[in-house]
Point group: C2
Chain length 341, copies 2
């Protein structure tokens, strides 16, 4: 028995999570989902919190979680993401966000030069510190004298453990991306931890780029990169960029992971996409690949690969949704994947 919390969330979240769970069940019949489908915008609007302490305890009793998306046009409070997703990341201490990114099919690349299309890289993002800590405030808020302050906080322990994960996963090289020339204190801690991890892993080649240069290089030639390690804020941007270079939000999955406890919360990179909700055109691939990533994180690589290979074949055959060049609906595309398992 493999107990997994399932949090479909809002918008297209439930539509794609249902398909992901069905697919997961086919390859892993021992999965026992604990469905938390009340964690959503309705509840946040009604009570100011979508994820209660009881919910949190339920998630914690599982071995992993499959997450859909949170976000709703009716929710104007940007604190909603913090209430649900950021809380799970922080309180479950899911200190690594990793986003393996591979081009699924040549036609999906936005790049002109065929030699530069086939990226296969992984962004390792520190997931519990940095600018995301939520520490700050405002002086005289709402007036013309307002000063707003947010704090970027990194600790040696926090950076080192993310760094160790990055180096352990690298097949060829690790590229540190930071902005030490403008943000000195966090920058120098990151560079120190990078140097120390590099010394522990002399077999891994290293490289350093400032974040602005990294973005340029990724667009110029993403095939140059293997593992990219970055802080929470930079990792957010870099992994969305690599996802776009690999075919867009419809196919990108990410794992929020604590490598020590083994707990992983896997989620598609896309949001709740209110405009697509109910149209049947949402792409289930990112959610299905999130289920594969959940298997990976549980050490079940073979079952994960079964899903990934089915996805690759259906996408190659155009048995997919319109955003990937196909004509299928969400349900049809997902059932094509299941037939290809």
């Amino acid at each position: 028995m493999w107990r997994i919390a399932v949090i479909p969330g809002d918008g297209i979240g439930p539509e794609v999570t249902t398909e992901a769970l069905r697919t997961l069940r086919e390859v892993a019949p021992d999965v026992e989902p604990d469905l938390l489908d009340h964690i959503n915008a309705d509840r946040f609007l009604a009570s100011g919190t979508a994820l209660s302490d009881q919910d949190f305890a339920r998630v914690q009793r599982c071995e992993g979680a499959l997450f859909g998306a949170v976000g709703d046009p009716r929710v104007t409070d940007p604190g909603y993401a913090r209430d649900v997703l950021l809380r799970l990341r922080f309180d479950l201490d899911l200190y690594v966000n990793h986003r393996p990114t591979r081009l699924l099919h040549d036609r999906l690349s936005p790049l002109r030069d065929p030699a530069r299309r086939a990226l296969d890289c992984m962004v390792v993002r520190e997931n519990t510190e940095g600018l995301y800590v939520g520490v700050g405030g405002a002086v005289r808020p709402g007036t013309v004298h307002e000063t707003a302050i947010d704090t970027e906080v990194s600790t040696y322990r926090g950076v080192s453990r993310a760094m160790e994960f990055a180096f352990a996963r690298a097949a060829r090289s690790v590229c540190l991306v930071d902005k030490a020339n403008a943000v000195p204190h966090n920058g120098s801690l990151w560079q120190r931890c990078f140097g120390e991890a590099a010394a522990r892993h002399p077999e891994v080649a290293t490289r350093h780029l400032y974040v602005d240069a990294a973005v340029m290089e990724l667009v110029r030639d993403p095939t140059e990169f293997d593992v990219i390690v970055a802080n929470n804020a930079h990792g957010d941007v870099l992994s969305d960029l690599t996802a776009q270079l690999a075919g867009g939000p419809g196919i990108a999955a990410s794992a929020n992971l604590n490598p020590r406890t083994g707990f992983a919360l896997c989620e598609p990179l896309h949001g709740s996409a209110p405009g697509l909700t109910g149209t049947g055109s949402a792409n289930p691939v990112a959610a299905v690949l999130s289920a594969a990533l959940l298997l990976d994180c549980a050490g079940r690589t073979e079952e994960a690969e079964t899903i990934r290979s089915a996805v690759r074949r259906t996408v190659a055959d155009l048995r997919c949704t319109p955003d990937l060049g196909g004509t299928l609906t969400t349900a049809q595309a997902a059932s094509a994947i299941r037939q290809a398992l």
Copy 2:
């Protein structure tokens, strides 16, 4: 007489700045350059500061500045950028960094879809606040208990004035890019100032994107964007991304501007490129277009357009350096531009 400080800096900085100044002189014979070629890495290494108070006073006495690049492999202290470039931005109160970006020629776009190549947008970056303030420190630095702190600070005055510039420049629309869902206090101030500016400019369409989504959208279809307004750190990344989508660092210019005093410091987006130094292959276009931008900022649009149109013609005719598909050296490419004036 038009007095301009010229700070060539390091690496290819002097090579391209010389050409930019020559070009500027052709169209604006009244230019009176004040050459500060001692502001460089040698001096920083020797004395710990490259820009002295006297230098600063000299720059301040000018009406604008042409900047090359600072950076040298021998300088390991990331504070070098703060000592020179960030000091000039902060102490001259150059609160807007604007980077108009237009695709110079179709062949330079990295994008596959011809309909999405011809971007023509401008990133308006707040240039004196945010994460760049340098306020922070470290607790127990150098130990395994280190905590590093940097502070992101925005003020109503600072955000509003950048916002006003963005809306005043917009031909069609302004897109606010922020990360209010993760960085709440700065995020909410930016959103308030955006709303207020939008109310003052009802003729301008508005849009909002989180920075991760903005990066994806820019790669997907940069032609959607007109003016993008963002804080210092986001603006840094977004403008390098738009530059890459428009043909790379070799052709991107930016202005650091105080719209009230009229002082502008214009610079190529590229760095000192130590690997290219002395090879004669550095592309002078970004520096030459920086000179054009300096003319623009001085209200001399016609002369600026003369330079830009010469650049466009030489690039179209492949009379340019190898990075743009030509075979010319720095000096040859620059003299081709001058012949085309």
